[in-house]
Amino acid sequence: MSDRRVGPGLQEDVGIPTFDDRERALGAAPVVEPATPAEWVRENLFSSRFNTVITLVVGSLLGFFLYQISKFVFVTAEWAVVANNLRGFMVGPFPVEQIWRVWVSAYVVAVLGGLSAGASPNRITWTRRKRVVGVLVAIVATVLVVLLVDTMLVLTLTFGVVATAAAMLFVGRRQGGRLRRPLLVAWLLSFPAIMVLVVGFGGVSPRLWGGFFFNLVAATVGIFLSFPIGILLALGRRSSLPAVRSFSVVFIEIFRGVPLVAWLIFSKFVVGLLLPPQMNEPPDIIKALIVMTFFSAAYVAEIVRGGLQGIHEGQYEAARALGLSTTRMMAFVVLPQALRSTIPAMISHFISLYKDTALFVAIQVTDLLAAARRSAVGLQYFGRIKETLLFAGLLFWIVAFSMSRWSQRLETRLGVGIR
């Protein structure tokens, strides 16, 4: 059967497939590309009787759903409920006269985000399809913003954020790799700086945080604090010191074993018990954030432990034989490999943690989801919950999807040279 193969195929038979040959084979292989859309449709959708039936059934179902949804979105729905409650959706009970603090934070993130995207070594290669999708998304987003935002000031500020990010993207490209290290420092400093900006100097107590702003802040806190704590717990669980090991195991199992909602409600009492009685009680939100961080750290620890198990004993031996201390061996040899292999699981966990910030409704935080439900309760917009939920879902999804995309780019970037 295989005796008719020639060229690169022969190489394979001899058992020495190499990179060169594979590339040459791909280049030389006849590429069957359908010439017209009609041909594509015939080949992919109607190639046999069975396929034709499936195409028709699935197609009509899809068409029906699409029709129903578009009818709702463009005809039945009354989006005034979203437009008029937009501030509640975004920042909840945050006092109006203090909202400039949130805007400044948004601009800080836009500047850093733009610079980072510009300075990133792997740029997006703009294929035709990506261009079309990009332009469509931009148009839809612009229309949405223009329709939903009713004051000129907010509209200007919103487009200002986008324009700033775009300008910084340009600057980042110009500066290139030189910016990478300062940017890392800037990112690390930005979060505490934003917190000081929001809370400090007569700012807004966490008791009044809410809306999508709250979801984003809570997710950021949870992700960036639970990551290092989780790594330490994972290392602790493998420690040769029995005290460290049992502490890690007990910590992980306790926090993982109780639902997050329950932890959030408990947090009021748990954190109070752990703090010295003289100390002022922190606001409930802060206590809940601490407990959520521990909850997430338990999961991170188990993900990292999985990654550590994939590291071959020989890696430890080689590092030790070279005289590296345990700390350096972990930092330069073991963790970089272990963490890389855990990226998919880790991002998955962080995305669900981000969505779980909606559970803060259990301690009376008006986050995005709570704001969406609450705004459809008043007499004026009674029953308009479909609109508000759809909008909240869209906002949640945009960020989650961006995280997923970003992790894929991270994976390709770190994947270099790994077998």
Binding site: G314, L322, L324, S325, V333, I418
Partner: protein, 253 residues
């Protein structure tokens, strides 16, 4: 007496092992090994699998802890003292059967990692040393590649360069060619031979008889955790004294 062996004779004896014993649970892997390795000497250890030869050389840089007996490396006794262990490790280079290169680092970074972090060399000095060593092992053009992109023979030569970057006084080779395809064995043995000729103190666990005959100063046979026979290569291979050695040689020759 042992202090004398360790420090007094340090100039001539790089490695002194005195009645070294090692257990894995109930199983005794080493039954009292005593040997001396002089400066610039090359010792090849042969023996059937499970004879304790790998375990023994791994006790020399403390990848395995010995349970009884004493080991001195360049006058420093190996004890539970962590400072001694790290001092000894930075003087001993080790090459493994399965290379154990760091797959996430380039060839160059594999080599410079330890000099920069243990010896605290500046980046420039470490990089230059790495290039120099890659030229010595014959693959300077691979510096920016990742280990996964190299052949087995090239990877093992990088591993040798990585060990040499710490400027060790002693090199340990744990079956360095056993995982290699036949056509790649020679390129690694050539590097090892050049190293032996340059005056490196070496202990090599290997079944490459040609290499042992040609390069070794002494050959030793390990069996069941004991050092059965040691002799100069010609005598070892042509007229061994012990029956066990004859039987082993008849199996591998």
């Amino acid at each position: 007496m042992t202090e004398q062996q360790g420090s007094g004779n340090g100039a001539t004896h790089m490695i002194v092992a005195d009645n070294v014993k090692k257990w894995f649970g109930q199983f005794q892997a080493l039954h009292g090994i005593s040997m001396r390795v002089g400066k610039a000497e090359t010792v090849v250890i042969v023996g059937p699998s499970g004879s304790g030869k790998s375990t023994f050389i791994r006790t020399i840089n403390r990848l395995e802890r010995h349970d009884e007996g004493r080991i001195f490396v360049d006058g420093i006794e190996l004890t539970d003292d962590i400072r001694n262990i790290s001092q000894v490790r930075s003087e001993i280079g080790m090459v493994f059967q399965s290379f154990n290169l760091f797959p996430h680092l380039t060839v160059s970074d594999n080599i410079t990692l330890a000099p920069r972090n243990v010896r605290h060399w500046p980046k420039k000095k470490a990089d230059e040393k790495a290039m120099q060593l890659l030229e010595r092992v014959g693959i300077p053009e691979q510096a920016q590649k990742y280990p996964g992109q190299l052949s087995g023979g090239q990877q093992q030569r990088v591993a040798i360069a990585r060990a040499l970057a710490m400027e060790p006084k002693i090199m340990l080779f744990d079956e360095p060619t056993s995982a290699l395809d036949p056509e790649m064995i020679k390129e690694v043995l050539d590097v090892m031979e050049e190293l032996a000729e340059s005056g490196m103190t070496m202990i090599v666990v290997s079944h490459e008889i040609g290499f042992a005959r040609h390069v070794a100063d002494r050959v030793m046979l390990f069996d069941a955790g004991k050092l059965v026979e040691e002799a100069a290569p010609d005598k070892f291979f042509d007229s061994p004294e012990h029956e066990r050695t004859k039987a082993f040689l008849s199996q591998i020759l």
